[in-house]
């Protein structure tokens, strides 16, 4: 800080003076030197800790006043989940520069899930060999378009929002099983919501059915565990198939148990294909399963 006035340099041990900083500390209105002084005081003074707790409650209400009623841009969520899925780390990957715009036409990259490898990434320890794939969907009702110019410029063609597919693979350990269980229950509850849609994606011989539940908010729970495991060179890919036009929704991996993806209300027809690892911008094979979403 360069604009020091009456700065009490050298008064490092004055606890009275440090106590005077407690309010500013709570409001993040101190510099690093002052912050360390306050934190040292807090270690030794229960009175100071009690005061900070009380003042924090007041500051929390100021925060809530600014927070209540706000709406984050829609694409922020998908961008966050794509980063999480790609194994991004917070401090390192998001720098001070301008945000990287999600591609408006190019597909966003999401993890492909290798056959028997762990498919739930552990924070800070992303599997090194997970390549990337495609997840995107077309959205017609862009009521809350971004203020960012890169989206506006794309709007003239088509506004394509990207959505992170959340995929839980086949694993025998508790964490993934819990995640699958939690998602299964969410799916069961979603199916009972007014406006929910369900469907079965079946193969040509009706020998297999992938259950899909779409809640009213557009979260599609794809019970993909019935799909036979693929070799490590292939992945399942989910598509919207309105009027036969295939638009990628996301990758399901090579041995999925359960996936959650975003599905636009305008999408009624779904299809699954087998694609090379990393997914394809357009299907390279005929659908192995397809079906229609119907309102419950």
């Amino acid at each position: 800080m360069t604009e020091h006035r009456h700065h009490d340099i050298g008064n490092d041990n004055g606890s009275d003076d440090t106590e005077a900083l407690l309010g500013a500390y709570v409001l993040d209105a101190v510099d690093d030197v002052d912050r360390r002084r306050v934190e040292r005081l807090l270690e030794t003074s229960p009175e100071a800790r009690a005061e900070v707790e009380r003042l924090n409650a007041a500051a929390d209400r100021l925060a809530e006043a600014a927070a209540a009623g706000a709406s984050a841009p829609t694409e922020l969520f998908s961008s966050l989940m794509a980063k999480v899925a790609a194994g991004a780390s917070g401090a390192g990957s998001i720098g001070d520069g301008a945000p990287t715009p999600p591609p408006a036409v190019e597909p966003v990259l999401l993890p492909r899930l290798p056959g028997d490898a762990p498919t739930v990434s552990i924070p800070g320890h992303p599997p090194a060999d997970i390549p990337t794939g495609v997840a995107s969907f077309e959205r017609h009702a862009a009521a809350r378009r971004s203020r960012a110019p890169w989206i506006l410029s794309a709007a003239a063609v088509v506004v394509l929002f990207v959505v992170g597919a959340v995929v839980v693979g086949n694993r025998s350990d508790g964490g993934a099983a819990d995640s699958v269980a939690a998602m299964e229950q969410m799916a069961a509850q979603a199916a009972s919501m007014p406006g929910a849609r369900t469907g079965e994606l079946t193969d040509a011989g009706n020998t297999m059915a992938v259950q899909v539940v779409v809640d009213p908010a557009g979260h599609a729970f794809v019970m993909s565990g019935v799909l036979p495991p693929l070799d490590s060179g292939h992945t399942y890919q989910l598509w919207s198939a309105e009027s036969g036009t295939m638009v990628s929704i996301g990758l399901l991996g090579s041995a999925p148990s359960m996936s959650v993806v975003g599905v636009d209300p305008s999408v009624h027809e779904l299809a699954i294909t087998v694609e090379p690892v990393g997914g394809s911008p357009g299907p390279t094979a005929a659908p192995m399963a397809s079906g229609t979403l119907n309102t419950v």
């Binding site: 003042l55 500051a59 929390d60 209400r61 600014a66 709406s71 991004a88 229950q185 969410m186 565990g225």
Partner: protein, 224 residues
């Protein structure tokens, strides 16, 4: 966009199908021993799930608090793109370091909003430092504080908080608003208001204490 037109039903499946009854049994197996719904998890369990690498749990944390975090950050930062970056940083940090949240010390929302505020303020300071380096802005160029204060006050959505702020004396209110919503250090506030730093420290501390009193009196104080 690359798309292809195909007849969905014409082609035979390219993989051998599995027995349908077996498949349904597998689904039933998956659904039998269920955890509580992710969106019904309390803060502690939700963050425990995040710690297990459950992306859906992080998505749920964002669903609950993303708008609020963004709203607060946007209030402090004038730049919308920067506010989006900081909001992402807050949730990526939650993903990478979920152990930093201690449910015994308060609600997840308070934790996230405090993190959000700190990071937004860091960004304000680094931007100001950058601007000073680049433009050598002198004190004459500091905008009139009344405008900044008014801007910070505009649109505060909690009537109770706005009322409480309104009942502080002017000196306390302007110091708190400039520091908290303006992202200024008490030293910068002192410069802006042309006051001794000690006076600003006192006004912030006393004003905040009064605010805590008034919020408690209206039943809005201290989180459990």
């Amino acid at each position: 966009m690359t798309a292809a037109v195909v007849d969905l039903r014409r082609d035979r499946p390219i993989l051998p199908a599995v027995d349908a009854a077996n498949a349904r049994r597998q689904v039933r197996q998956l659904t039998r021993d269920m955890d509580p719904l992710t969106h019904e998890l309390d803060d502690a369990r939700l963050i425990a799930a995040v710690g297990c690498g459950d992306q859906q749990a992080l998505a749920e944390a964002y669903r609950r608090h993303g708008d609020g975090v963004y709203g607060l950050v946007r209030r402090v930062l004038a730049d919308g793109a920067m506010a989006e970056e900081v909001t992402q940083e807050v949730f990526l940090r939650l993903w990478n370091e979920p152990h930093r949240y201690d449910a015994d010390r308060g609600a997840l929302r308070s934790f996230l909003l405090r993190q959000a505020h700190s990071r937004a303020v860091e960004r304000v300071r680094s931007e100001e430092a950058r601007r000073r380096r680049e433009e050598r802005v002198d004190r004459e160029n500091v905008p009139p504080q009344a405008d900044v204060e008014q801007q910070a006050m505009d649109g505060l959505s909690s009537q109770a908080v706005a009322d409480a702020l309104a009942t502080l004396n002017e000196g306390e209110r302007e110091a708190i608003v400039l520091a908290y919503f303006g992202g200024h250090s008490y030293r910068e506030v002192a410069v802006r208001l042309d006051l001794p730093e000690g006076t600003v420290k006192s006004r912030i501390r006393l004003g905040l204490a009064k605010l805590a009193d008034r919020l408690e009196a209206t039943g809005l104080g201290i989180n459990p």
